[in-house]
């Protein structure tokens, strides 16, 4: 079967994200697929794997080696920038994602990008892990880098509720802060690409439960548009936003991002119409019900349903829960490969 494959993993991933023809549908993980099972198999455990470059690379490699994806994604959480920017992070035990313990930014107008940002430990570790993975895989596998957008960074630095109230009470201060924060993902994105990332995920949680579509348009869309112009041009960028987004996907199509990583709460048919060919859609598999608690057969049914609805890049909707059984993730890979074979 492998003999019939004509494209290298990396080539396949890049082509599919750009909507071009591929020898078979690729298996992409815009966010983490690290599981406790994979940690046990490799000996690279959380919390060390968040900040130790070798453990980070070893755990990321399981996405390809153990599970069979065409990508490896070494940034597991969403808090490396936050930690580097002075948030106290609780890295948590092996089966929990890290959490923020305090939001250090009091005076928003005073925030500046630290000059040694890229040299701060968690960031440096990520960049090293990316280059280790690139060295190991070359074109066989695509290395997925990730950056946290200004909106989510503001949640971390200011506190979610506090920042959201800022939209109401100090809209100009919010605009100003976001305009400065966007330098963080831009700088990091360039460094990740330099280190060997083939694809980038841009996580920005302007999600419907927290903020209106109008607020996205007013505050974040112009920054996303600006960012796309300043990001490395030859690297596809996947926007990630959890939750329901049908009311703002039209705006997402105006950003210039290559793809959008979507949550299972969005009907795929509707998303496809809204994306209108201007954004490649990635994701769609329900994490808590299907991947964490479902059986292999249920995973396959869900993957088939998404593929039949016209989603070409089926993947978990977000970072998978850490107790997800690996067999369910392998079932995703298998179901996509089976479907792809039938198509030929």
């Amino acid at each position: 079967m492998a003999a019939r494959e004509q494209m290298a993993g990396c080539e396949r991933v890049l082509a599919a994200l750009r909507g071009r023809d591929v020898d078979r549908l690729p298996l992409i993980t815009p966010t983490s697929v690290a599981t406790v099972e994979s940690m046990t198999a490799t000996g690279a455990f959380f919390p060390e794997a968040h900040t130790d470059p070798h453990k980070m690379a070893a755990l990321a490699a399981t996405g390809h080696e153990l599970l069979g994806f065409d990508t490896v994604a070494p940034y597991f959480s969403i808090l490396l920038e936050a930690a580097a920017l002075g948030c106290t992070v609780d890295w948590n035990p092996v089966d929990a994602m890290p959490a923020i313990k305090n939001n250090p930014l009091q005076k928003w107008e005073e925030w500046r990008l630290p000059t040694n940002f890229l040299d701060r430990q968690p960031i440096k570790a990520l960049l090293t892990a990316i280059s280790l993975l690139k060295k190991r895989y070359g074109h066989r596998v695509a290395v997925v880098g990730k950056v946290i957008g200004p909106w989510t960074l503001a949640y971390h630095l200011c506190g979610v509720q506090n920042f959201l109230l800022g939209l109401v009470l100090e809209p100009e201060a919010v605009r100003d802060l976001l305009g400065r924060l966007v330098a963080v993902p831009l700088l990091l994105a360039a460094a990740e690409v330099e280190a060997g990332a083939d694809v980038l995920t841009w996580a920005d949680h302007a999600t419907g439960d927290l903020v209106s579509a109008t607020a996205y348009r007013e505050f974040l869309l112009p920054l996303h548009q600006r960012a796309v112009k300043e990001l490395p041009a030859d690297v596809p960028v996947i926007l990630h936003t959890c939750g329901r987004v049908t009311d703002r996907l039209g705006y997402f199509t105006q950003t210039g991002f290559t793809a959008f990583h979507f949550d299972s709460r969005n009907p795929p048919a509707e998303l496809l119409i809204l994306a209108n060919g201007r954004l490649t859609l990635v994701g769609g598999i329900n994490n808590p019900q299907t991947l964490l608690n479902g059986r292999v057969a249920e995973v396959k049914v869900e993957v088939e349903r998404l593929l039949k609805a016209g989603i070409r890049l089926v993947a978990p909707e977000c970072a998978v829960p850490l107790r997800t059984p690996n067999q369910n993730l392998k079932a995703v890979v298998q179901a996509v490969r089976d479907f792809s074979r039938r198509q030929r």
């Binding site: 509720q161 109401v168 009470l169 209106s212 109008t214 009311d247 009907p267 048919a269 198509q343």
Partner: protein, 410 residues
Amino acid sequence: MLQQELIQPLLDRAAATGRVVIEIINPDGVVIASSDPGRVHSLRPEVQELTAAGLYCRPVSSSEVDAGATPVIPAKDENHFLPLTVNEQLVAWLGWQGSFPGETAALLQASLEGVLAAARRRDEQYYTTREEEALLSALLGREAASRAEELKLRALNAGYDLNLPRAVIVLRLEPKENRYFNINLHLGYDVTREQLKSEILEHVKGDLYITAQDLVAFYSEDYLVICKAFLDTDNLPRLYQAMDVIGKHLYDLVSGNHLFAVQVAYGSIVKEIAGLRRSYQEAVELISLGAACGKSNGFIDADTILFEALACALPGRLTSRYLEPLLQKVEAAGEEGIQLLETVEAFIDNNMNIKQTAEQLYLHRNTVTNRLERIKQLTGLDPATGFRAIFWLKMLAVYRRLGRLHQHED
């Protein structure tokens, strides 16, 4: 489900170009629309077979979609059928007899599916609106507290997390056309009004400050209610500041309409389902107090009607024990008593400054001094003795004014 007025012209036009009879048949084989009206309600058993065989469930591959090629399902004789699907579900069959170019058929199929999908969306929107109204009405009902767990689950199904702290914002939409037309003519206002109300609802839902967590629905005829959600109550002063901005903003958003006068107010931020009803009642009370103070339009914040709200909130043991007897004394003195009370209120509002009070009331300073002396004799309260006396005199003036307005309402 069929939008006859949209579908019939499509069928007629297509039939005219191809000189064929074109029909829409429901999955059970009954003709539900046809370019030949005589055929409606007739039966097509072969369609039942097609439906039963599940032939419409063909796999949709991207290449097929790209090419736009839709295979016509083979059928006996000269009858041709194409499935009409919405969200991958079969809703009806498109059928024709005779020769008809496949391309035109595919186009007709696509436009019919578009019409059906739009109708389905409208139905869903209608259903969502009704469910939200029902949910809101349950949440604000008397029994909400005892059904909290059930309501939480129901809300979760509709996408709302009722564990979040919330405040109730009320927008009262008061029809104002009666101000222009006193005669009860049927000028179509009811229809326009309903239409405008649903437009206002959509407008509010799509607003900058309204998120998917904020439950928005009508509660009774003219109250548009928003259960505004927050994540935590760590900084309550900041939350309430934001509520003021949002309240004013919503008033501006809605007040431009031509049919309704709009009053907006909000109640306390509450952490329990049981509190929502109280928060709602607080908002409604602010609105009616606002109206009592002559604010029948606008955002009514608690500060502008602080004393009125305070007078209303005084417990019975204080109003009955102190304010009622005082009011009786004042009213027993007739017109003069009222005049004295108004003078002392102006004196208090002018920071106990006799000169300013006299200027405001166009009186001589001595008249003011005299009246202050007389109210002291009448009530036993002397503003010069300190805040307690000032407080009761102010409350007395507000209490009388509110009481009089309440009598007018009755």
